[in-house]
Amino acid sequence: MSLSLVERLAAAKAAKDMGALVDVIPYAKWLGLSGKIEDGALITTMTFAPHLVGNPALPALHGGTLGALMESAAVFELLYRAESIVLPKTITITVDYLRSAATVDTYALGTITRHGRRVANVSVVAWQEDRAKPVATAVAHFLVMAEQQGA
C-alpha cells in the first residue's frame, strides 16, 4: 500500500485502465465518473445519480457538477496524453452553459489545444444524448510543472 497518487496514476495509465484513473480520486468516484477509450479518444462519463440534481423542478443537473466533470475530463486527458505523469494544477477554468442538462448520463471529451513547458490549455465539450447538442463547454489552463517547482 501507500503508493503515491502520481505512482497510482502512472500504474493505471501503464495498464490502460481508465477506471483505475478515476478510482484513485475520491471526489471523481463520488461524482460517478468513469473513463473509457473510444476510437482513441478518452471519454469521461458522469453517470446520472439523484445527488447531482440542481433543479428538481425542471429537472436539471447542478451546473457545478458539469464544471467538475469537464475539469476532471481535462485533467484525465492531460494525464492520458502526457509522457510523464505530473499532476496538473488548475489555474483557471471558464465554463459556458449552453443548455439545461437533463437528469441522464453526461459525457465529456477534453482536447489539448496547447501543451507548453509550464502551462497546458485544454478545451472540453460536454453532451448528453446528442453529441451535436453540447450542454456545456469549458476552457481551462493548467500548470503542468513537476511538483517541487510549486505554483
Partner: protein, 156 residues
C-alpha cells in the same frame, strides 16, 4: 407588512429554496447568510470531496460547484420576485490550494442586474476574504422560462 418583515420573508424563502437543491445537500453546503444582493455559504470538509488523497486537499471541482451555487443564490436573492435563472458562464481562478481538513466559505455578490442578465463576483476562502482560495466571475440569464412567454410590456 413593513419592509423588514418582507425582507425576512424573502430571506426565509430563499434559504429554504437554496437548501432544497439536492446537489447542495449532497455536498453538505450550508447557507449562512443571504442579503439583498449577496450570499454567504459554508462547505464543511469531507473525505468524499478530496481530489488528491496524498494531501487530503479538496478537488477543484468542489470549489467550482460551491462558487456556482453561491453565485446563483446571490442572483436569486437580488430578484424583486422569484424567477428561474440559468448560469451563462462562470470563470474561476484558482489562487491557492484549500487547506486539508478545513471548511471553505464562499461569498458571492450580484453587482449588476439588467433586464435579461445578472453579473456576479465571488470568492472562496478559509478565514480571510482578502486571501482567497479561488475567485469567480459569473453571468446569469434571468427569467429563463417566463421571459419567453411573458415579455415585459413597454410603454405603449
Amino acid at each position: 407588512m413593513d419592509d423588514e418583515a418582507k425582507r425576512e420573508r424573502r430571506l426565509a424563502f430563499n434559504r429554504a429554496f437554496a437548501s432544497s437543491v439536492p446537489h447542495n445537500r449532497a455536498l453538505g453546503v450550508e447557507i449562512i447568510d443571504l442579503g439583498a444582493d449577496f450570499a454567504l455559504f459554508r462547505l464543511p470538509y469531507a473525505e468524499h470531496l478530496v481530489g488528491n488523497p496524498d494531501t487530503g486537499v479538496m478537488h477543484g471541482g468542489v470549489i467550482t460547484a460551491l462558487l456556482d451555487s453561491c453565485s446563483g443564490a446571490a442572483v436569486f436573492a437580488s430578484l424583486a420576485r422569484p424567477a428561474p435563472i440559468a448560469t451563462l458562464d462562470l470563470r474561476i481562478d484558482y489562487l491557492k490550494p484549500a487547506a486539508a481538513g478545513r471548511e471553505v466559505l464562499a461569498r458571492a455578490t450580484c453587482y449588476k442586474q439588467t433586464r435579461n442578465v445578472a453579473f456576479t463576483r465571488a470568492v472562496a476562502y478559509h478565514d480571510d476574504e482578502d486571501d482567497p482560495i479561488a475567485s469567480a466571475a459569473g453571468a446569469f440569464m434571468l427569467s429563463t422560462k417566463l421571459g419567453n412567454v411573458a415579455p415585459i410590456k413597454g410603454p405603449s
